[in-house]
Symmetry: C2
Subunit: 338 residues, 2 copies
């Protein structure tokens, strides 16, 4: 895939993650200890399958948001650490189920759990991790925190069903797409950022600000993810360019290329995504249409707008190390290459 559109600024992306990494390092060690502890089960298959994903080098962006926002609002103790671990478990459970639903073979450069242990085990271990996530939250004992995360759990699943219903449906509009990524991705970012102020009952405007930060960051994150699926570098991404194409997922680069294109283009998109003619030749043609209509740039532009909204949401907080770290996360997300 040498002639894909390259997304710029990738060199800077990782530097933008350093401030939050430094800020949360000590607490994330605690999060990681809890994650290892709660993935334990006498049922041997559970830790084996769970560790496959846990150890596979995800960035743990969501729990980092919980820890960093705790620091922003002054939430101390191990409440945020345990909520952060629960957030990561919810995310891991979602990934396991997603890979089953999407029939994915590769995640983070490794074979997916469903390829190694089967769809059945992936569904059930996902359920186990979700159960463990709720147990951890209950142990923290904050009803406002539980409310935020249990709501997110239902909304995420709703978003996944919406996505399933929209698959192979060329009538999907940009609005419908936004509703999907809002639910399937942004709901957890939002909950992860909002839960820490809720634990210590901070004023409603701080909670609302962090909720809005997380929501807009999550949308930006997913927009970039969907752009990378047509413009990324497979090796660095640890996932294959064209996955969404082969699965018939209707993402923004496609929605815009379909709308901006000719009748012949629209016929092509229908054949490729609805009827499943998604071989490499057609993927190359899809990428050429996406380039011609500049829909990667348009997607990135939307991502930058949501990123700006995420940053503005934090404007009510005075300048501080945690605030700067959270602002840098936005820049990381809109300029990331992996």
């Amino acid at each position: 895939m040498g002639q894909v559109v390259q997304i710029g600024e990738t060199r800077d992306a990782n530097a933008r993650l350093k401030p939050i990494l430094d800020l949360v390092a000590e607490d994330m060690a605690g999060v990681n200890r809890i994650i290892l502890d709660k993935a334990i089960s006498d049922v041997e298959l559970i830790p084996r399958l769970a560790h496959h994903l846990i150890d596979s080098g995800g960035k743990r962006l969501r729990p980092m948001l919980t820890i960093a926002s705790a620091k922003l609002v002054g939430a101390k103790g191990d409440g945020p650490i345990r909520m952060a671990a629960a957030v990561e478990f919810m995310h891991t459970a979602t990934l396991l189920h997603d890979d089953v639903v999407d029939e994915s073979d590769i995640r983070r450069g490794k074979k997916t759990a469903r390829i190694l242990w089967g769809n059945q085990a992936s569904v059930l271990v996902g359920d186990f991790l979700l159960g463990q996530a709720f147990r951890m939250m209950v142990d923290v004992g904050s009803l406002p925190g539980l409310k935020i995360l249990s709501h997110a759990a239902a909304v995420i699943a709703e978003g996944e069903v919406m996505q399933l219903a929209a698959a192979k449906n060329m009538a999907t509009t940009e609005d419908a797409y936004l509703a999907i990524i809002n639910a399937k991705t942004a709901a957890l970012f939002s909950a992860a950022a909002e839960v820490s102020p809720a634990l210590i009952d901070r004023p409603a405007e701080e909670q609302a600000a962090l909720k809005s930060y997380g929501r807009n960051l999550g949308i930006a994150f997913q927009l970039i993810d969907d752009a990378l699926d047509y413009a990324g570098d497979s090796e660095r991404l640890g996932k294959s360019v064209g996955d969404d194409f082969r699965e018939g997922k209707i993402t923004l680069p496609v929605i815009l290329a379909f709308r901006r294109g000719s009748d012949a283009d629209r016929d092509f998109w229908r054949r490729a995504l609805v009827e499943g003619e998604s071989d490499d030749g057609n993927l190359a043609h899809a990428i050429s249409l996406i380039r011609r209509h500049g829909t990667i740039d348009a997607t990135l532009e939307r991502a930058r707008t949501y990123g700006a909204m995420a940053k503005d949401a934090l404007a009510i907080f005075p300048d501080s190390v945690p605030r700067r770290a959270l602002l840098d996360v936005v820049d990381f997300c809109v300029s990331r290459a992996h």
Copy 2:
């Protein structure tokens, strides 16, 4: 399947359910209203798929236990009603995922959701219902109640993974089988019965008694279920005799027939359950071996023992209408035909 072993006392079974049905009728109307209300979503596929299962005429035994135990210990208000609805949602979510994992075609006499809407939608709507269950529990606001049910959620999934790992494994012992049904079935019966006293902070011995009642009742229930899979009447059960056989599930009637049989019998069981030679001729032979070794009777005998333990667990409570209704549920479970 004319020559299957008939399980006795089936005529009386439904009469034994009448006392609890009368006791909980009014509150169960409330439970059913909440169930309908919480299965709503703007994502059209969700209520459609959820209702397929919700409307299919399950007995709602688990939420009835929550309501009846609330009456036993004097827990009033809508807390038990909402927890009961959450219990039923947890159960429904488990059924959706189970049917995917077991590749089942029929449930309660109807095509399964996965046959009608696919495995993907079944996994995701199950996740949605589990999320909604947690939201309902959080709304009740009882941390002890949340603790009991979130623990059950993790244990149920653990039990399902254990069952998956034990499938087609003739080395499975009666102990391993008991550990599986304890987790996958009895954990929810137990939580359903225990949660009401926890809501109003009743003395530990009452909570422990109802927990023990639920656990032993759940084990008895599953033992009977597994016996019916080789001895039931398909039409009345709404499920096919031989499902467990075809799925290679190692249940007690098989464990005992394997152990009590000859070397030739054991070869047969390995061919049938491990290698999957599970055609109708082999099912008939399996049933004949089960009859010869009396393993349905042995399974029923175990079920009666667990049923007796469930009844004894309630001995600390003075005689009352709710107590008598809960005792009759035990008799229903060990003598039920559907």
